[in-house]
């Protein structure tokens, strides 16, 4: 029986897992994009089977920093009166494998610690009276359940050598593998001494260049992967087929540009993964002086073709459209956190207080407050030797959090019709002005544009001027006015911003004349009705909105939209960047 495409895809995933199991730390990690389900379970069981050494730990979404890095062991510390240190998950995993659950929603802090451990193989701790460097070399399996563009933070994915996508597979595709632990152990023993010819390295370098991959770390990780793949095949020298598979597993998803596309490519969701048979002829030397566009010699061509066939479909589409790809990563795990103001925000010192009232007990500060009294209290204690440590309620210290609500300004720009270019240019100017003067205040800005048949999030909430400039470099314009979709997207994003604990302000730049319905078909009346319905949903959020009508003659429709949104209406025939910025500032200050 011919193996199906899907089972070939599974075989690829298995090969990636095998390589990871051989040298988890050297490859950084394995990025597994897949919804939870039987296929992923099967895959993770296989991962556990193949793990050659060390422990297997799982980091849950809300792992506390003290569990991650280690912290004070409470019970022992209090009973003995001596500091007892408990090691954290990351240090316990030294030499083993760590699984990061829901990697796309993990908090930035957690990511930062995981990343520094991945980089150095050690962790430098400086917290709670402890200061030392401990070994923490492990491989990471990052489980990514993100939908569409949602994905783990770039700082993390950058460090993971391998990526596989199990989304399109079913358990029936998962044929048993012919790799066993003995293979893996053999490969582990010899992969470092596999020979990597210069010509192969050149092809690798040219491939990264053609795909616009600028991270030397990616190149180094891939070069290691090539050697491991060769070792798994029992070869002492890497060949092109190894490179090709490595490119598919480690580089395809990092592409930031598409080189000349082979004409027959279809860009389908399931990669047409016939890896072209390894060319037997020697790869030609790369011309050393080819700077910008490297002359594409046949093997590189094959590499790029293989890579393109395996670029994740969403990424491929945005690369085709000429966008800079960007993952929407939520800094997540904060759902419902608005209610817990006593416990969120930035810690800004401690205060005396009873933790039972909802504050978070700061153990170190409490001990510090109690310490000077110990000798005295010991003498006064009615039952000596009962406790080593005398702590009274007055010693309790809780961490003080300053929860300054950040504000996020959300520009929703009508890019349809004739005024599009002007409006977009002014909105862009306002975004940059706002970012330029708010970067010290930690506010962020986002931009949604709508035209044609859909609305699109051009700039996810960001504080980075650099990023904003990049995202706004190419401005689309013209076409119909899908107002309903725009309002829906705004509602969605506002909800997300609220969940993250910031305050959104939506600024609509439109004349309010909708002519594209939600399903993308033209028709004024339906488009308008749907836009109004969507606006009412937005209103339910009770969030700030501002409709700026930039058309030369003011429109009743924009006014109606503002009303439906529960926001303010402003006629501004001469909207310019500076004016917009000032209005947004004053609206935010008034609320």
């Amino acid at each position: 029986m011919m193996p199906s495409l899907a089972s070939k895809h599974w075989a690829l995933a298995e090969a990636a897992l095998a390589a990871f199991s051989v040298a988890p730390h050297a490859l950084g990690g394995l990025w597994v994009r897949s919804p939870p389900g039987p296929v992923r379970t099967l895959f993770l069981e296989l991962a556990a089977d193949w793990q050659l050494s060390g422990t297997a730990k799982r980091i849950p979404l809300h792992a506390q920093e003290s569990r991650l890095l280690g912290g004070i062991e409470l019970t022992q510390t209090l009973t003995s009166g001596k500091l007892h240190w408990e090691s954290g998950l990351l240090t316990q995993s030294h030499g083993g494998v760590v699984t990061l659950a829901m990697a796309e929603r993990v908090q930035r802090q957690t990511i930062a610690h995981v990343c520094s451990a991945l980089d150095a193989g050690t962790l430098t701790l400086a917290r709670e009276g402890m200061s030392q460097t401990v070994p923490a070399a492990f491989g990471l399996i990052a489980l990514d359940e993100g939908l569409e563009e949602e994905q783990p933070q770039a700082a993390l994915t950058e460090r993971l050598g391998l990526r596989i996508d199990l989304g399109s597979l079913s358990v029936h595709d998962a044929l048993p593998s012919d790799i066993d632990r003995a293979n893996l152990l053999d490969a582990q023993a010899c992969w470092t001494s596999v020979v990597l010819q210069d010509s192969l390295i050149e092809t690798l370098a040219a491939t990264t260049l053609a795909l616009g991959i600028d991270s030397p770390r990616a190149m180094v990780l891939t070069s290691r992967l090539i050697k491991i793949l060769a070792a798994l095949e029992g070869r002492a020298e890497a060949i092109e087929a190894d490179l090709e598979r490595a490119v598919i597993m480690a580089l395809a998803h990092r592409a930031t540009r598409l080189p000349e596309l082979p004409p027959e490519d279809t860009g389908e969701e399931i990669p047409e993964s016939e890896p072209p048979e390894a060319q037997s002829e020697e790869p030609e030397e790369e011309a050393p002086d080819s700077r910008e566009q490297p002359e594409v010699t046949p093997p590189i061509d094959a590499m790029i073709e293989a890579a393109i066939a395996h670029i994740p479909s969403g990424l491929l589409a945005s690369l085709r459209a000429g966008h800079q790809p960007r993952g929407k990563s939520s800094t997540g795990g904060k759902s419902g956190s608005q209610q817990r103001h006593k416990q969120r925000g930035r810690p800004v010192g401690t205060e005396a207080g009873d933790p039972r009232r909802g504050g978070r007990l700061n153990l170190m500060a409490t001990l510090r407050a109690a310490a000077p009294w110990q000798t005295l209290r010991r003498q006064q204690a009615t039952e000596p030797r009962q406790a080593h440590l005398h702590i009274k309620p007055s010693d309790f210290r809780t961490t003080r959090f300053r929860h300054q609500r950040e504000s996020t300004t959300l520009f929703v720009v009508d890019a349809s019709g004739s005024a599009a270019m002007h409006r977009m240019a002014e909105a862009k100017g306002a975004v940059e002005l706002l970012l330029a003067d708010c970067y010290s205040r930690r506010d962020s800005v986002a931009l949604i544009a709508f035209r044609g048949s859909t609305a699109e999030l051009l700039l996810p909430p960001t504080r980075s001027l650099v990023r904003a400039k990049k995202a706004l470099a190419a401005l689309p314009g013209g076409g119909g006015t899908p107002l309903a979709h725009a309002v829906e997207l705004t509602t969605l994003l506002s909800e997300q911003i609220l969940r993250d604990g910031a305050t959104p302000t939506a600024v609509f730049l439109t004349d309010g004349v909708a002519n594209i319905a939600r399903d993308g078909t033209p028709g004024r009346q339906r488009a308008k009705d749907e836009a109004m319905t969507a606006a009412k949903q937005f209103r339910a959020l009770n969030s700030r909105a501002l409709v700026i009508d930039a058309s030369p003659r003011t429109q009743q429709k924009a006014r109606e939209l503002a009303q439906a949104l529960g926001g303010q209406y402003l006629a501004m025939p001469q909207a310019d960047a500076e004016g917009l910025r000032n209005i947004v500032r004053s609206v935010e200050a008034n609320n």
Partner: protein
Amino acid sequence: MPAPYPFTAIVAQQDMKLALLIAAVDQGVGGVLVMGDRGTGKSTAIRALAALLPKISVIKNCAYNCDPERPPAGHCHSCQREDNPSLKTTSVSIPVVDLPLGATEDRVIGALDIERALHAGEKAFEPGLLARAHRGFLYIDEVNLLEDHIVDALLDVAASGENVVEREGLSIRHSARFVLVGSGNPEEGELRPQLLDRFGLSVDVSTPQDVKSRVEIIRQRDSYEQDPEGFIKQWRRKESAQRRRIEQAREQVARVSTPDEVLEFAASLCLQLGTDGLRGELTLLRAGRALAALNKKDQLTCNDIRSVAPMVLRHRLRRDPLDESGSDSRIARVLESMEAS
């Protein structure tokens, strides 16, 4: 732990290497800020530099890296207290202290030693990271993500060279002079202007866009990983030549003279670019002198100023968000116009 990757074996990244060398020759130029793509070897470079630098002599077991060659008045409280005129000295490599994201304030500036307080009822100070970084490097990765209250504490110490601790009934002050090295990715967020200004030099790193250098990067890394010791041995000569160059430059730098026309050149450059304050000009001269010393010259020239101008001034220009051209091209433009006149 394997020995760090040799500094001289780092491929390309001339700007970053030069900035680090200048900071190593003259600590007074202030810190180095390295912004750029992920994975460009920022932290590799700083660790490599520390391994390259000559060892320093310190008083044995001193938590503050006290310098035995200084008069005792400049020593920390514990070295002064022990009425031992002949404190033992030892030589150690330059400390590189990582400031991990999520470090607590008490670990950074120091705090009451809990264990001794609980055990003996003594009020003793437990030095923090700032004490360990004295006379060395304090490295902050992802500096733009650092918590504000830690940044504030750092700024104060970096400016004064002294850490003053007033907490939990302790009153301690100790020297903390270090080179602040920060790195980060500009796409993750901007740096507060106050912090930006504290960095003497700022460089942007990016990956070389040609096959040859990329091949070189992979090849060097590969041979290092296969045989770290052998690789380091291979680079030993270059490393010690570089070390000698730094040592000589450190002696030389105080003797580099500054002609008046160079002073004028630096001043008018800053004037035309509209940088705020004098810090830019002063750093320009210091960095220029360090560069001259590295090149074994005894006089500062306008060319030295030109070479260091981008890294000294890049982050000090007032930002004009609507000006598409970056700071670098503005500096280049002004330099060009000055050339012409």
